[in-house]
């Protein structure tokens, strides 16, 4: 009997403790969902500095890239209000904005006496923070200014008197020449990643755009199987002949490894890799790699933009404090500190900052690439579209389908996806 009584008491105690919320108003606190890695690291440091200055306690919760999107979307959909600020990869932004999960920032800026975002931000970076793209309302601020770059071995280009790769034809000629003449040393002319999904699509889009391809027409109908689109995929498969075997399953790591080991002469890549080439413990190619904007073909070359944005969920209970931190963290002074940790900025003044340019000689090329960059098609269904498109690109590159078959099947699959979204 005593047992029953004590069990009941215990149960009651648990219930009482569980229900008793702290009646004191909590001091100001912010919680941020961030990407783990160098981008999130910089934000964490900024949070510590901000806390010392203002006394606002900031908790930074880090997630790996593979989980961040689902954590944020599940949380915002469930309206738990767990996060006051979230880091977003720019292709995710349309999903969040379309579902109306983010706070519009302009009214918050106006309260602070600003009409809109600082004009020092790169236009292309602010454009991906707006919904609809470029013209719509502002729902985020750009924190890390990534865009694709073209990497090539300038020592080999000089050795074989090749001209800097300005067009995809130049790239093909150079890949051929280098592979033929350097074949003894196990050198490949080009390295790309064609694993299904994000990898294949990221390496294909710049070729696709340069060849005049468009994923959707003005009415939103998929148009990847136009003659331009098929020609672009044929070209990609042709470049595959100069890429290491197995590239149809490569991801960023394998591409990086080939460049670091000095076994490939060119690739499309993201700025995060630049620093690694100067690390003697990893790199066999110190000082040998040049970075430039993407090659063109029928159209001028355009990179995919891949900025990290910071937004305030609609469910945040501390939107004004969150905005204060967001504005502070994206000031030139704070972003400069993030840049010194290796994150490309989103501000023109920082890309031109003499000290930063001395440390990162690729900055002028990065700025040109970012300013002329293009976002991935802005649709809330991007993840599904990218997945389906990537499967067919990978199939063409692994030889399972011809480029024309792949593009026709991809187009049919994209039509189904788009139709479902309507």
């Amino acid at each position: 009997m005593r047992l029953t009584r004590s069990l009941t008491a215990l149960l009651l105690l648990v219930i009482t403790v569980g229900c008793n919320r702290d009646p004191q108003p909590a001091r100001k606190e912010l919680t941020i969902a961030a990407i783990s890695g160098v981008e999130g690291e910089a934000l964490k440091q900024a949070a510590v500095d901000y806390e010392t200055q203002t006394g606002v306690h900031i908790t930074v919760t880090e997630f790996p890239y593979a989980n961040l999107f689902e954590k944020e979307l599940i949380d915002l959909n469930a309206r738990t209000g767990a996060y006051d600020l979230i880091m977003l990869d720019d292709p995710w932004f349309p999903t969040f904005a379309t579902k109306q999960l983010l706070t519009e920032l302009t009214p918050l800026l106006q309260k602070r006496g600003q009409n809109g975002p600082d004009t020092d931000f790169i236009d292309a970076s602010i454009a991906v923070c707006r919904h609809p793209y470029q013209s719509g309302s502002l729902y985020a601020l750009p924190y890390v200014g990534n865009s694709q770059l073209f990497f090539y071995r300038k020592d080999l280009f000089e050795k074989h008197s090749l001209k800097a790769p300005a067009t995809w034809d130049d790239v093909l000629t150079a890949a051929k020449t280098i592979q033929e003449k350097e074949s003894g040393s196990g050198m490949y002319g080009y390295v790309m990643r064609a694993a299904q999904g994000n990898a294949a699509v990221a390496d294909f889009m710049p070729i696709f755009w340069a060849f005049g391809g468009e994923m959707f027409d003005a009415s939103g109908k998929p148009t990847v199987n136009t003659p331009e689109g098929i020609a672009a995929l044929e070209f990609m498969v042709q470049m595959g002949k100069y890429s290491p075997p197995g590239y149809a399953s490569f991801n960023a790591d394998e591409v990086g490894a080939h460049l670091l080991q000095g076994t490939a002469a060119m690739s499309i890549n993201w700025p995060a890799w630049i620093g690694k080439f100067d690390d003697p413990s990893k790199s066999k190619v110190i000082g040998k790699i040049e970075f430039t904007t993407l090659p063109g073909a029928r159209k001028p070359g355009q990179a995919e933009i891949g900025n990290w944005l910071i937004a305030i969920p609609r469910t945040s209970r501390n939107a004004e404090t969150a905005m204060d931190f967001l504005v502070w963290a994206t000031t030139a002074e704070q972003m400069r500190r993030s840049a010194l940790r290796g994150n490309p900025p989103t501000r023109k003044s920082l890309f031109r900052d003499p000290e930063l340019v001395a440390k990162y000689p690729a900055y002028p090329a990065q700025m040109r690439s970012l300013e002329t960059s293009r976002p991935r098609p802005r649709t809330p269904q991007w993840n599904e579209i990218e997945n389906a498109f990537g499967i067919f690109l990978s199939k063409a590159n692994s030889g399972a389908l011809t480029p024309a078959e792949a593009m026709n099947q991809a187009n049919a699959e994209l039509e189904k996806i788009v139709q479902r979204g309507q």
Partner: protein
Amino acid sequence: MPNSRRLSNAASRRHLLLPYVLVAPAVAVLLALSIYPLIYSITVSLQVGDAWSIGNFTRLASDNFFLTAMAHTFVFAVAALSCEFLLGLGLALLLNSQIRGRGFFRATLLVPMMLPPVVAAIVWRLLLNPNFGAINGTLKEIGINTEALTWTASPSLAMMSVIAVDVWQWTPFVFLVLLAGLQAIPQEPYEAALIDGSSRWQTFWHVTLPLLKPAILIVLLLRTMDLLRVFDQIFILTEGGPGFATETISLYIYRSAFRFFDFGYAAAMSFVLLALTNVISVVYIRLLRNESRA
């Protein structure tokens, strides 16, 4: 209990309540963690947008990705199960006999099974890397042209590679269960067979195999259920690629739910997989029950 008669009515009532009080937390946890999500996922699978509909289930029939992923899952399960069973049975028979060093072999054989599947998959991804991997490195050393051996990147080899890794990791489990089964068989039937003058093959076929049947059915049932829901190894080794060559149903379910945020469709696919797994399990269990009656 003679004492209980002397207890007052109230006390005896409390006495009767005690078991319920003690069981209540477990039932509550079970309700919260199993039953509620199950019912919830059924309702989710029956919604498209915000409306009630069986659209998620009708869409399955016209979804090439779903049908192909299903086919891959069965190819993978059948191939891996056959290899694991034949190898596991062979090893169990071998190590059940009195060979030298069998303790050592038994212990080492279990190592792959001890590794978390994710770790095993990462190890194999490195081994199978066409350019820097140890397997192609070794083949190159002994003079074999490895140019075409892009294990996880070629549509024809990728499925074989993921099957091989599963066989490597889970044959030990089959072996372990069958070995335990073999050791539980009494000696008498063998003595009788010996006296009757049966050959080794006849002994195996008419004595060992029938007596081992319960263990065989159990291990086949467990492996089939595991193989049909394979996720980690394939996700790490190929992520379903190249193209779609190794995409199994659980990878596609994962993608639909957490990448495309289509929980309704993902739930519908899960229920189809659950139904198929159930049908197969029922067949196994029927066989097992018939066996125990015989």
